[in-house]
């Protein structure tokens, strides 16, 4: 190879790499535009909201900024109550999922009893049942149990999801038997094996699962919409949409409520991004 061909090879690599950066960062910018727009509009005074010109933050000199939309939301809507409701429902569902999913995954992998193969088969098969197919009969069952407008009516169907069982089953199955045998010889009870051996080893996967389930249940839409018909019981997603459909002509308000509604999860995301990403990647790896 001559000098000039090597140089042109290096040059073309450099150009290609530069183009790649332009593409990836350009895409990232485009994906961030809705965020910037939402933030900017949420601070824009009502009289300027009819102006389609975007109003970027920080504002140019002389462009007025207002907190009126946020003040209105905090004073005149139940957005704080909705946040608390969502926290209780998503947190309660997550806690239950982590506890009972890990219990059954433990039972299916570390205890030996007749029929466990069939039970595992049924749980795996239920993956094929799309969630929405069940909403009509599920609604009747939840109504029969008197759980309409109750947190439990949202939490319990969410806890029935087989995803956590499946992920934990795969992880527990791969924990070497030797740990447990040694513990049994030292006189550990089944409960002690679960709390002192399995759970500590499973900590990373449990926290990833918990985080994913928290986000998933925080964001759930159709089911809470059906079960929670009382305004004081709404979760954030339901409250947000109701507010929107009630005042279609107040864009600043919608943008402010979008910010308030996503802020809690965005903070969670910034703090625990790695775990959340891992929870998603685990699903892909098992698929």
């Amino acid at each position: 190879m001559t000098d000039s061909t090597i140089r042109s090879q290096i040059d073309s690599d450099r150009v290609r790499n530069a183009l790649l950066h332009v593409f990836l960062y350009g895409l990232a910018f485009l994906m961030a535009v809705p965020y910037l727009y939402t933030i900017s509009r949420s601070f824009q005074p009502n009289e300027l909201l009819r102006d389609p010109r975007p109003y970027w933050i920080p504002p140019l000199v002389g462009e007025p900024v207002t907190l009126e939309h946020y003040q209105y939301l905090l004073n005149n809507t139940l957005v704080v109550e909705w946040t608390i409701n969502t926290f209780v429902i998503a947190g309660g569902a997550t806690l239950l999922i982590v506890v009972i999913d890990s219990m059954i995954a433990f039972s299916l992998t570390r205890l030996d009893w007749p029929g466990q193969g069939a039970i595992l088969g049924i749980i795996l098969a239920s993956f094929m049942v799309p969630y929405y197919m069940n909403i009509v009969p599920l609604y009747q069952i939840v109504a029969d149990l008197g759980l309409i407008n109750s947190y439990w009516g949202v939490i319990l169907p969410a806890v029935a999801s087989p995803l956590g069982v499946f992920l934990l089953y795969q992880f527990f199955r791969d924990i070497p038997e030797e740990y447990e045998e040694a513990a049994r010889l030292d006189g550990f009870s089944t409960f002690q094996v679960y709390t002192r051996i399995i759970l500590p080893l499973a900590k990373p996967i449990l926290s990833a699962l918990a985080l994913f389930m928290f986000v998933y249940n925080w964001n759930a839409f159709l089911w809470p919409l059906l079960v929670l018909s009382n305004e004081t019981a709404y979760t954030l997603p339901i409250g947000l949409v109701n507010l929107y459909q009630g005042n279609i002509d107040t864009p600043g308000l919608h943008m402010a409520v979008a910010i308030l509604g996503s802020l809690p999860l965005f903070i969670v995301y910034l703090l625990f991004q790695g775990q959340l990403v891992r929870a998603v990647q685990m699903q892909g790896a098992t698929g």
Binding site: P34, T38, V136, V159, P251, Q281, G284
Partner: protein, 310 residues
């Protein structure tokens, strides 16, 4: 405790005890499974069974669901003759047909790009994945403003390059593409992180070996990357088909199925039938038809992308 539990031959204590002739481990196994199994049975298995029953009945009294009337397959027959159902089917397939290929291809391109030698991988990943943590309620609220015909961001910029930019949510031809595009923005990060993990787990030596044979670029992608990532591609395609097929909130919040029913979807119609018109048997039948369609799609998917390249 202690010496009495040590059974010759490595048997552990839990295996050996019996209560009334049943092994203690069997009892423990069932007890440990019971909390999940109880909830699973009541809230997942039982509805699936009861849905079948409901789909074969009508409910003449909307306020008293204990009154049922056996109608056999009539709900299903009516469904297949219902033009609203077929229109919703068309809308759903249009939405799926636009969103799923974009979600998969763009997710793959982003993952392969970030996997290369680029600066700021963590920042890119954080931005790409971030819309996924938003609730669909926020996504629809924000994009309803972005798409607004006269005051929206999209048309403000389009106004510089064209006269009278279109009404994205008010034009029958554009509304589904607009909803699908928004959904790609919202969910592509999920596919991106799965593809990124799959790409990173391919051993680099495979590429080094291929380079010796002169396989770069497109050929390396076709011969190494795609086959090695096949499992994750199959998974992502399946998940996205199932998810996007059940699209509901986007038309429910943003368009109410309009204009002229052009953004109606199957789950939105199911929701209206059962919960606005109180036709519970009809809604349950639609649920079963949805499952049947998804099973057919799953089989086609596995046939098309699951078996090739073996």
């Amino acid at each position: 405790m202690g010496i009495t539990n040590r059974i010759p031959g490595g048997e552990t204590s839990a295996n050996s005890k019996t209560v009334m002739g049943i092994r203690k481990e069997t009892i423990e196994g069932i007890l440990w499974s019971l909390p999940y199994l109880a909830i699973f049975t009541v809230f997942l298995v039982w509805p699936a069974v009861r849905g079948l029953y409901m789909s074969l009945h009508t409910y003449p009294n909307k306020f008293d669901l204990s009154q049922t009337e056996w109608v056999g397959l009539q709900n299903y027959v009516e469904l297949f003759q219902d033009p609203v159902f077929w229109n919703a089917m068309e809308g759903t397939f249009l939405f799926v047909g636009i969103s799923v290929p974009l979600l998969v291809v763009l997710g793959l391109v982003m993952a392969l790009g970030v996997n290369k030698n680029v600066a700021g991988k963590r920042t890119l990943r954080a931005i790409y994945f971030s819309p996924y943590v938003l609730t669909v309620a926020v996504v629809t609220l924000v994009w309803a403003q972005m798409y607004s015909t006269s005051f929206g961001l999209v048309n403000y910029y389009l106004g510089f390059i064209m006269e009278n930019p279109p009404g994205w949510l008010t034009s029958a031809n554009l509304v589904m593409p607009a909803l699908a595009f928004m959904t790609v923005w919202w969910l592509v990060g999920f596919n991106f992180v799965i593809f990124l993990a799959a790409r990173q787990s391919i051993p680099e030596r495979l590429y080094e070996a291929a380079q010796l044979d002169g396989a770069y670029g497109w050929r390396a992608f076709k011969d190494i990357t795609l086959p090695q990532m096949r499992n994750s591609v199959v998974f992502v395609v399946m998940v996205q088909f199932i998810l996007q097929f059940q699209v509901f909130a986007q038309p429910y919040v943003m368009t109410q199925g309009g204009p002229q029913d052009s953004s109606d979807t199957l789950v939105y119609y199911l929701y209206r039938s059962a919960f606005s018109q109180q036709q519970f048997g009809y809604g349950a039948a639609m649920g079963y038809v949805l499952v049947a369609i998804l099973i057919v799609i799953a089989i086609i998917n596995f046939k098309v992308i699951g078996d090739s390249n073996d």
